[in-house]
Symmetry: C2
Subunit: 416 residues, 2 copies
């Protein structure tokens, strides 16, 4: 069977299973989630030994240590996966929520109701915990999920999925609501991207290259996630001590995440006061600064290029520039931002209003770190990714973002 | 200049203009809409004479009379275009609406706020009134619009757009928030579909072929509209007199629209009672019935094929079949529906609940005609199309559906 046929076959099974899941009650779904969590704990030894195979293969292949670390499971991470499923069970069911409703002039009753998408395809990289997290969120929102993890995690993913499917079958839901996509080459990703009609939405999670490829090649609708060239703009009206703490936190608290700051903009009127302090503090934390002329007057700051301004470093590096005013900051952000998160540090209300209105990103943050753009921090309880596109969902995506809606129109013989 | 460069240039101008429009107040936008309406009336003579050129060209080229009719403007249609703009001015501004808001445990204030998409591309066929309607809806929702009408309407569209741009300039908004896409070949559509980053969303309105091509080729996110193979299912528990009225209305009240019924399903227990009446009534209205074995026992019913079951006839034709029960109807609909609108005629509550829950279409209608799936009927005040996809918007799209959202996060020095 060709890769395309194999993928279409599992997608067809997912579609059929999704019909049952779409009308399952919350009680049934929650029971399945709890059973999946228990099963993951019970199968801990088997999952960890499958994971050890993946880790050994990765190490033998010379995979960098930070990637191997993402791949590695231990008791703690396994427990966190199980707890994640239990947390999702505790969240309200988005399916069935009435979004709008009214009675029309002619007496027709109109309701717009949340319904599942149907079949969701997840394409992701090394972390095997995404396998359980994505399955849990999709299931709670009534969607069958097709999981296409990286081949480096194939043994782990197979063990996790097999365990969850066993628990599903025991809970009375079709086990095909959670399936691995067969095939380890790019052909299977391609087949998934062409399965329009069988798959309702694709969510790629991973590096910028993966996401761009899916966005460009997919005929299945895509929710673009996660590339973040996040800016912090320090205005002339800022509390500079607060600004320093926010810049440091946004850049250094965790560097490998999409909501870390990658670019710093400073109003020219406070450049003399702020630059020495921020350069010293960032360098003290080991941050390499790619700076414009004003920044480059300081030791160890390297000259910035447009590429640096556009870069998502995901490392202890930052681009930095002095701007004439808030309009200069807005223009710079329009030119270089990926539309994830931009922060302003300022006390002047008119400046803050202007920045919030003019900056068109998934999140605009006032006097706080960019690191808060996160489903957990926002109180969503679960997050499947952070959308940086404008269609359907923008920003952290929780359970409601994993649904569509339909109109239910009720009459008593109404005709036009 | 190549077609691609020409399209990217207008798209770039639209992007720049959209920055001004995005933060314009409702008062400014409404004043512009009213000025555009007045200008269309004042320029009536010029627009009608441009339209006469298009009509003459179409007639000389042997265009079918029904297409020429769609192309033709007269005083009444022009007045309706102006009134449409005034109606949109009267609708609430979706931009700035707070969708959710809360204060997080750490004191951060979180708001999810409606914002414009930015730049919307409309690709549409013969009707020149879409030019004014789409411009009005996009403008009110804060979006710059790129209009790619059909070449058959080029003189009309040019005159309408020129008139509206003049009114915009006089109202203090950048006239580039409304632009025609240059070029009349498919190359300009292609360039629009590749303008990711400059165009935020494409909305194709027209025949199934056009829509499919845009969905498959576009790297810009697309909202799929309008193909409707709508079903009416007559249950065993139906009031058959009501069912007859609904079937007739759904099929014959207007045949060229996407919410007209194209398929009829009848529960076997009422087939003997209902088929003679419905066949006679439909045939009396001139409807050709493509029927299964039970229907084909009646005179002048032609045998149905799977293609007929899947067809959107947009004419006095209907496919028809007897099904064993509501589950049979649901299965049939899953197999053949385009996911636009499906109706059930029934009195039994459990059957109705099952149909509403299991049928996954943009609209599910109980005891009423499929013809009610419409922004006007739903009370939206304006409609830019009917989405048949599950991402972002589903069903009739009014002003709120022409927006995205962003999160605004306000703190006082918050760090993680």
């Amino acid at each position: 069977m060709s890769s395309e046929d194999a993928v279409r076959e599992v997608a067809g099974r997912a579609r059929t299973a999704s019909h049952v899941l779409a009308t399952a009650t919350r009680a049934t779904k929650d029971a399945a989630l709890l059973a999946m969590a228990d099963a993951l704990e019970e199968a801990g030894e088997r999952i960890l030994s499958a994971n050890a195979e993946d880790v050994a293969r990765a190490e033998a292949g010379g995979t960098p240590a930070n990637i191997v670390d993402r791949l590695r499971l231990d008791e703690g991470r396994l427990e966190a996966m199980a707890q994640g499923l239990r947390d999702v069970a505790g969240l309200p069911d988005p399916v069935g929520e009435v979004l709008r409703g009214s009675t029309l002039a002619n007496g027709l009753e109109l309701r717009q109701v949340r319904v599942p998408f149907g079949v969701v395809g997840m394409i992701y990289e090394a972390r095997p915990n995404v396998t359980a997290d994505a399955a849990g969120i999709c299931l709670k929102a009534g969607n069958a999920v097709l999981l296409r993890g990286s081949s480096s995690a194939r043994s782990s993913n197979a063990a996790i999925v097999e365990t969850m499917r066993g628990a599903l079958a025991a809970s009375g839901l079709p086990e095909d609501v959670v399936q691995l996509v067969p095939g380890e080459t790019h052909d299977s990703v391609k087949a998934l991207m062409r399965a329009r009609g069988l798959v309702d939405v694709l969510i790629p999670r991973g590096g910028a290259g993966l996401i761009r490829r899916v966005v460009e090649e997919s005929t299945v609708p895509v929710i673009e996630t996660g590339v973040g060239n996040c800016h912090v703009y320090v205005d002339a009206s800022a509390d500079l001590e607060q600004a320093l703490a926010i810049v440091l936190n946004a850049k250094t608290q965790r560097t490998s995440v999409c909501n870390a700051a990658e670019s710093l903009l400073v109003h020219q009127d406070v450049a003399d006061a702020f630059l020495p302090a921020v350069v010293a503090a960032l360098q003290h934390e080991g941050v390499l600064i790619h700076g414009d002329a004003a920044f480059a007057e300081h030791d160890d700051v390297v000259p910035v290029t447009d590429e640096d301004h556009a870069a998502e470093f995901l490392a202890l590096e930052i681009s930095a520039a002095v701007v004439p005013d808030v309009e200069g900051a807005i223009d710079h952000i329009r030119r270089f931002s990926t539309g994830h998160t931009e922060a302003i540090v300022a006390r002047d209300q008119a400046t803050i209003r202007r920045f919030v209105a003019a900056v068109d990103s998934a999140a605009v943050v006032v006097n706080a770190s960019t690191r808060f753009t996160d489903g957990g921090e926002f109180g969503f309880g679960a997050e499947i990714g952070i959308s940086t596109q404008k269609l359907h969902a923008r920003g952290p995506m929780g359970l409601p973002e994993m649904t569509s809606s339909k109109y239910v129109v009720v009459g008593e013989g109404h005709v036009r």
